[in-house]
Amino acid sequence: MKVLYKRELYSFFVTGTGYVFLFVYMALSGIFFYFGNILTRFSDLSGYYSMATYIWILLIPILTMRLTTEDRKNGTYKLLLSSAISIHKIVLAKYLAALSVIAVGLLLSVIFPIIVAIYGALYIPEMLLAYTGMLLYGAAYLAFDMFISSFAKGNTSAFMLALGANLLLRVIGLASKSASSGFIKEILSLLDTEKRFTPFLYGQLSFACIIYFLLFILINILLTAQINSTDGGYRA
């Protein structure tokens, strides 16, 4: 699994996808930070942290669009499936490689809180919790987008499908807040990722939310493995 993880990570950077992702992420984060904190001379980063969730929704499909479709296009899925690695390990290696790119993006973006710390006051535990939330939120959308992208045949369609699904998930989250009926509200609320991210923004360590995100990730990884198994989406 380690060898596949290394290859996938290498592929993100040798094909430029990783650099594009990191550049756009840093550019958008920088813009939000500039208008939200530098221009207003405001040291509270909660606005910047919450905008990161929108950035993930827009950018994570860039990472997932090639994770499975590229193998199908190049025929390399046959190399992977005929090797002595289970489909779960294949999916997990790809997922962890993409998650590493997200983690690199988050590490780079630490520059913004550092700027705040230099010129103002930064409450570090709050920042660490916000970054934990951002990582979990990104990891959840990554797993979800990887699953959704598995239905697509090409990179572009995988990107569009994942982006559409992300927006739909966001709309479902909003709808759950405005739904009146108890049962429908409960059902919609299960898919409200925003609700589970909010406590981290306010400096709360919610184990329930951490478990929610971990389960969300696990379910999507298992579904991705199922759809890409020998009799699923990887079929020629």
Partner: protein, 306 residues
């Protein structure tokens, strides 16, 4: 492989296909487009699940013991599975690690692969910049990673120039001494020249499974007016009979046989002396013109008629 079937929706790709390869040999897989050759190789390699039946590789079931079974398999699909952004060296190194070759043997194995596939001079070039022939060689080297017992090759000579095909044939002949090779191809002459055995698929059904005729071997079709049970063991024990197969069971009083022999002069004499000695009429005795092309054509014709 035992009674393997696979369907895509209503289309039956394979139907009750069974065969066994228990010695090092090169097996040619023939069939028209859509006959099920690639599906068969995909199922053997574990890239595809069969709807029913089982595949056992070196004692391990490809589904329940997938990881152990796949250790014995090297697969070159019709489209070589290449990561074109990698160099040849990086790609083969990755494949060797993927096949879990012991760490201390990796460098030596990598050198061997580069040499076997004649890739040493391009090892530092990106696969994306290589010609089709070289890409095919890289795919071929990939199939040899980990020195697997079974090597599956799907249309390996597609797009190769004549000198590359000759080179490839030499490699196959060498490999078939130490590996089981299953080679799918449309090129009958390729199968005839490098394979020991041929499997012919027609519309997903295995219609022919036989050894390719050795230079001194012949086949005879013989029809005798006697029940099978009465004569079969006696004929089997004739000195010149190498192998025999019953042809059909239409009339219980008539036995049709295809007999393989290495001594085409003695077999008719032995058959005539057997028939006169036992009072059995020979209804027909004919030497089969069994070139691979004729065998293939007759199997396709029979399949189409049925």
């Amino acid at each position: 492989m035992s009674e393997v079937s696979k369907a895509y929706g209503k289309h039956i790709a394979l139907k009750d296909v069974s065969f066994c390869i228990d010695e090092f040999q090169a097996v040619g897989l023939l069939g028209e487009n859509g006959a099920g050759k690639t599906t068969l190789l995909d199922i053997i390699s574990g890239c595809l699940l069969a709807d029913s039946g089982s595949v056992t590789i070196d004692g391990f079931d490809i589904v329940s013991n997938a990881e152990s079974a796949k250790h014995s398999i090297g697969y070159l699909p019709e489209k070589p599975p290449l990561y074109t952004e990698m160099t040849v060296f990086e790609y083969l190194k990755f494949c060797i690690e993927l096949k879990r070759v012991v760490k201390k043997d990796r460098n030596r194995h990598l050198d061997d692969l580069l040499e076997t596939a004649n890739l040493t001079q391009v090892k530092n070039r990106k696969i994306a910049n290589l010609s089709h022939g070289f890409r095919q060689r890289v795919g071929f080297a990939q199939a040899l990673c980990g020195n697997p017992k079974i090597i599956l090759l799907d249309e390996p000579t597609n797009g190769l120039d004549p000198s590359q095909v000759i080179e490839f044939k030499r490699a196959i002949k060498t490999l078939s001494k130490k590996h089981i090779l299953i080679l799918s191809s449309h090129i009958l002459s390729l199968i005839q020249s490098v394979c020991d055995r041929v499997l012919i698929l027609h519309s997903g059904v295995l219609t022919v499974d036989r050894l390719i005729k050795e230079s001194n071997s012949s086949s005879f079709f013989v029809s005798l007016y006697a029940p099978q049970a009465q004569i079969l063991s006696k004929i089997r024990h004739m000195p010149s009979v190498k192998r025999l197969k019953t042809a059909d069971k239409g009339n219980p009083n008539i036995t049709n046989l295809i007999i393989e022999t290495d001594d085409k002069d003695s077999l008719p004499k032995e058959l005539f002396s057997f028939s006169t000695g036992n009072g059995i009429a020979i209804l027909r005795l004919q030497e089969c013109e069994n070139t691979l092309e004729e065998l293939y054509q007759s199997s396709i014709d029979e399949g189409t008629l049925s």
